[in-house]
Amino acid sequence: MSAATSSPTALKTPGSDSHSGPTLSLTLKIWRQKDTNSPGELKTYEVKGISTHMSFLEMLDVLNEQLVQKNEEPVAFDHDCREGICGMCGVMINGQAHGPDLTTTTCQLHMRKFRDHDTIVIEPWRAKAFPVIKDLVVDRSAFDRIITTGGYVSINVGSAPDGNAVPVPKENADQAFDAATCIGCGACVASCKNASASLFVSAKVSQLALLPQGEPERVRRVQRMVAQMDKEGFGGCTNTNECEAACPVGIKVENIARLNREFLRAKMITR
């Protein structure tokens, strides 16, 4: 998952390779935890010669190469696309989800955002509903279970209709699209003081509530997804709006208002 992909023996000393330009020496304080049930702790590591052109994950790769060379266990962290679209990466960097940049995933964060001799604290997402699997990797299957309860269209809507056969107002199409850009990384939960999943659930409810294909299951969907959200042990929304600031794709809390609206409406008209 996270360990160095290339053979450690083929490595040059980090920093002495082809990267040009200024390099950084950093102190990393990283959460290490063997498995879900073991206690964890912050451990301190030094890395040198980090190119400012590197991404944050590449910097962690350098650290892991060092650790492997020293026969130590590399730091486990989640990642997949490394281009900001999959939502797998995501750690707390100095107490901020995905680090200091707005609308940026950890994999897209560049080391030039840091200064030489900085200390960087790296922790996993923290929430009762996101148990730590190992080190910086958390179990986000609670999100999957929420989707399972209704985050889809289960009726047969046929094959792709003619472009103009199903009228959708431009505003709705735009808002549905914006909501659909949620990559499910969990930064909203991680940054919220209540570990609330409201922003995630609201995006997933909104993208369907705004479109005709979502209409037949609109009332049932929102109630089931909210019930599952509560059951998973996420907190409730107190409109702090920290999630919006932390979201790497800029999902807006406007969606949470829509979630509340959809939910209250559903409660009133459901039979």
Binding site: A195, C237, L259, F263
Partner: protein, 263 residues
């Protein structure tokens, strides 16, 4: 027990969103009460020897109004109780949602320069408001606190009023009560803290109830701050003002400035 289940569900709700909506509705209704309460209090400023204020008080205590006021009192108590109960439940759940905290946590919201933004201290400000309200009700509703700091002839008068709890509090009594050092201090802090609760509360309630619009929400946030200041500072003025106004029974040498506020 089962017979009361519907009542429990009505108060408690069955989802985090439903509970939050109840907090919002009870909060907004209490805001409505605060507006009418502040409007009534403004009559204290009228320099007609308390005629307007006393008449207003008499009206509220009159036969026709008795049932209305009693109903309003019960209603407010229920609103307050539900708000408080659900706020505690919600806060407890929200705390439980993150059993292990972060070694380091920083906001990514650039705009909040305050060390304790209103949304982070809602329970704390709420509890301070609760404490203030207890004292306020003891003083003004139940008139249960003595007035030993006042000169003897005044104590006699105030205690006589205390004895007859159905007698409305007059403007003079109200000002005397407000001059009590404990009352002054707690009311001043309590009202300002209530204002801070509303800085977030007023705006938040709309979002909770599903209202958010790119054009109106920024204006609503501003309105929330204005509303909070009007309510917070509006009520907080009275315990300060009480020290500068002259009422019957005051020593003739009134403090300077008194004449400015009481024509």
């Amino acid at each position: 027990m089962n017979g009361l289940k519907w009542l429990w569900t009505l108060i408690y709700g069955d989802s985090s969103i439903g509970r939050k909506a109840r907090i919002a509705i009870t909060g907004l209704l209490m805001c409505g009460f605060l507006v009418s309460h502040l409007a009534g209090n403004l009559l204290l400023f009228k320099g007609d020897d308390g005629e307007s204020y006393n008449n207003y008080a008499k009206f509220l205590h009159s036969g026709e109004m008795e049932a209305v006021v009693a109903g309003a009192e019960v209603g407010l108590l229920v609103l307050f109780g539900v708000h408080l109960l659900l706020a505690l439940v919600t806060t407890r759940e929200n705390t439980a949602a993150r059993p292990t905290g972060y070694a380091m946590k920083q906001s990514k919201q650039g705009d909040s320069m305050l060390a304790a933004p209103a949304y982070n201290v809602m329970l704390l400000t709420g509890v301070v408001v609760f404490a203030f309200l207890v004292l306020h009700l003891v003083d003004f509703r139940f008139r249960a606190r003595g007035s030993s700091h006042e000169p003897a002839h005044v104590v006699e008068k105030v205690d006589a009023a205390h004895a007859n709890k159905h007698q409305p509090i007059t403007r003079t009594d109200a000002i005397r009560l407000l001059r009590d050092p404990l009352t002054s201090g707690v009311y001043l802090v309590g009202c300002l803290v209530l204002g801070y609760h509303l800085v977030h509360g007023f705006y938040s309630a709309f979002q909770t109830l599903g209202f958010n619009h790119p054009r109106y929400t920024p204006k609503l946030r501003l309105l929330s701050i204005v509303f909070a200041i009007v309510i917070g500072v509006g009520f907080a003025i009275f315990p300060v003002w009480a020290h500068f106004v002259t009422i019957p029974g005051d020593a003739p040498a009134a403090p300077p400035g008194a004449t400015a506020t009481t024509p």
